[in-house]
């Protein structure tokens, strides 16, 4: 059992590119941290520096409060699950799982016991003699997990382990990973670009962008109170609606003149962005104390079954306004709707993209 702590981790490549600009993160024992971000944001680099596959340019990496910067990957007592599994193609499933133990000089009978136990845990007992190429994608994935689990490492590292699976298997393996991680209680760092995976798996979520941590906290906190416009746009599907606004005496004004009553928080005349999630736009008739009412025209509908997504147009605005309607809603394309939203569901970001607090912010640092 272990804790993991990153203090100001920098990664600079010899060609002058800086991939990580001082990452601070502390992972509690048994916690599952998901690092999420668009490609090129440095999340994989972060994982690889923790693994020891990349050197650390600056900063400290502590496992159990022991500085491990200079240790080889094998000495850090971590296990990693790779995106393409990286199973040894010429070895049987058993040998794949046993290889790390063998290299550590574990006695033969203990290797056998641990591999068979892990295989049973992962439903691989029947496959131990097979070669990786004779396995399906899901089975290979489980072998890759097994190879990590069998070592009983201090820290698990997952590098987009589900991105090579088809959608159905991905959902299934997601639950499986969650179940195993809770059951084994191993401290884990999980990297993904898939925000659904991130939201569902994480105890805490770290959103990265351009080598920085944008925000860090529980998935629901990040969803409800995104610290930056980037986090707001990255989490949630369909993405949050962003409307350009100008600060006003009693709130903000949309380009078409509609006023939104908000607590006083920006000096008058400043440009800002108002964010509203699609599910927070409701029909005006069902809301008493709306911050504002928007009259829109439905241009396109996407029925998803439980919900219907309506792509609507607000006069005077270029952007779509996406609304999540009930699946039973009788909206038609071309129809006019009056949409309202509550003050509590408004997100305001200044011109730099930082959140402008409307109420007392709930703070949660990464440390």
């Amino acid at each position: 059992m272990a804790t993991l702590r990153l203090n100001g981790i920098h990664k600079r490549y010899p060609n002058g590119i800086t991939a990580l600009h001082g990452i601070d993160l502390s992972v509690a024992d048994g916690e599952l941290i998901v690092v999420v971000g668009p490609s090129g944001c440095g999340k994989s680099t972060l994982l690889r520096t923790v693994a020891g596959l990349e050197s650390i340019s600056d900063g400290e990496l502590m496992i159990n409060e022991q500085r491990v910067n200079a240790l080889e990957p094998a000495e850090r007592d971590i296990a990693m699950v790779f995106q393409n599994y990286a199973l040894y193609p010429h070895m049987s499933v058993f040998d794949n799982m046993a290889y790390a133990l063998k290299n550590r000089g574990t006695p033969k009978d203990e290797i056998r016991r641990r591999v068979t136990d892990t295989a049973r845990l992962l439903d691989l007992a029947e496959l131990l003699d097979r070669r990786p190429r004779h396995l399906s994608g899901g089975q290979r994935q489980r072998v890759a997990m097994g190879r990590a689990i069998v070592r009983e490492p201090q820290v698990f590292l997952f590098d987009e382990p589900l991105s090579n699976l088809d959608a159905k298997l991905r959902v299934q393996m997601r639950l499986e990973i969650r179940r195993l991680q809770k059951r084994l209680g191993i401290t884990s760092v999980y990297v993904t670009h898939d925000q659904v995976e991130a939201m569902t798996l994480a105890d805490r979520l770290v959103v990265m962008n351009g080598g920085h941590v944008e925000q860090c906290g529980t998935p629901m906190m990040l969803y409800a109170q995104p610290a930056t416009r980037f986090v707001a746009s990255f989490l949630g599907s369909p993405a949050m609606n962003f409307l350009p606004v100008t600060a006003h005496r009693d709130g903000v004004v949309l380009p078409n003149g509609v006023e939104v009553a908000l607590p006083d928080m920006l000096s008058e005349g400043r440009a800002a962005t108002l964010g509203i999630r699609p599910e927070h736009l409701v029909e005006a008739t069902s809301m008493a104390d709306a911050a504002a009412v928007l009259d829109v025209t439905v241009e396109m509908l996407e029925p998803l079954g439980a919900d219907t997504l309506a792509y609507t147009r607000l006069p005077g605005l270029e952007e779509w306004l996406v609304v999540r309607l009930d699946g039973a809603h009788a909206a038609r394309e071309g129809q006019r709707l009056s949409l309202a939203f509550a003050v509590a569901h408004c997100h305001v970001f200044d011109s730099q993209g930082a959140r402008v607090p409307l109420a007392e912010p709930e703070t949660q640092a990464c440390q």
Partner: protein, 281 residues
């Protein structure tokens, strides 16, 4: 490509058969000639069929020294085998290690090292044969197995081929091995070499044939009959007697000289086919 034209099919098969015949003809001639007596070989035009002295020729050849070479054919075969094996194994060992270093390790002037090795491809043995002879003579390696093998043991071709193969090994495999606690030697032994099996088999065949067919170098550095190789002896047989060339001995030796390479190819072919049928990657 497959065209639905029966005429074309027949034509291409006929061409193929003709080419096979052309390739086989010299081998067949040597084989049949090795079963005639010397008298028969000199008294008649080239016979395309077996003579009556087949077993006698081979028995005579295998039973003792012949043709004034001062050695027997078994020694020749053993010498050739030692040289060919030494060259093949040595070349593979060196090229695997060189390619391993070039592909998987980061060190200064790595690229330069690769190009230096690569440039030696442009210098065939014949070009550097005199300086090499000088060096080998100074080292006192004339008339020795080491002298036969060592100068031919470094191979840019094999290094290049192994490098190209190593470059196709996914980097994640290297990283997984690092995390699994496999150091450089373990990674080479447990992962890289097993993955290279089919490539190594192919290289071995090519290099064995290369070593077996060496002519100029062994001719230069061996005077002692104990280190004569079978390929060189063939030429010596043609000139060693005062009177008639013992053609029945020459052809018999030639047939014997063909057997080990054929055996190596047949043996290794199983690995090729296995490699093709159940690819490890």
């Amino acid at each position: 490509m497959q065209y639905r034209r029966p005429g074309l099919d027949r034509l291409s098969h006929a061409l193929l058969a003709l080419c096979c015949l052309l390739f086989l003809l010299p081998v067949w001639l040597a084989f049949t000639a090795s079963t005639h007596t010397l008298g028969a070989l000199y008294s008649q035009t080239a016979s395309l069929w077996f003579g009556e002295a087949g077993w006698d020729n081979y028995r005579h050849l295998l039973s003792g020294s012949f043709g004034g070479l001062g050695t027997d054919v078994l020694t020749l075969l053993i010498n050739s085998t030692i040289m060919a094996l030494g060259i093949a194994i040595g070349k593979i060992a060196i090229s695997v290690l060189a390619a391993y270093a070039i592909v998987f390790f980061r060190f200064p002037f790595r690229r330069l090292c690769f190009w230096l090795i690569f440039i030696t491809l442009m210098l065939p043995v014949e070009v550097r044969i005199l300086p090499t002879f000088e060096v080998v003579a100074d080292l006192g390696l004339l008339d020795s197995y080491a002298g036969l093998i060592l100068p031919l043991i470094a191979s840019a071709t094999a290094t290049f081929l192994m490098r190209q193969f190593f470059l196709t090994v996914p980097p994640e495999l290297v990283e997984a091995a690092r995390i699994d606690g496999a150091g450089p030697w373990r990674f080479l032994r447990d992962i890289l070499l097993p993955l290279s099996k089919t490539n190594l088999a192919a290289l071995f065949v090519i290099m064995f044939l290369y070593g077996w067919n060496q002519y100029l170098w062994p001719l230069l550095i061996t005077n002692d009959a104990d280190y004569l190789t079978i390929v060189v002896s063939l030429k010596r047989l043609l000139t060693s007697t005062d009177g008639l060339v013992p053609w029945q001995n020459v052809t018999t030796t030639a047939v014997l000289a063909m057997l080990p390479p054929v055996a190596v190819i047949l043996l290794m072919q199983r690995y090729f086919v296995k490699g093709l049928v159940d690819s490890e990657k």
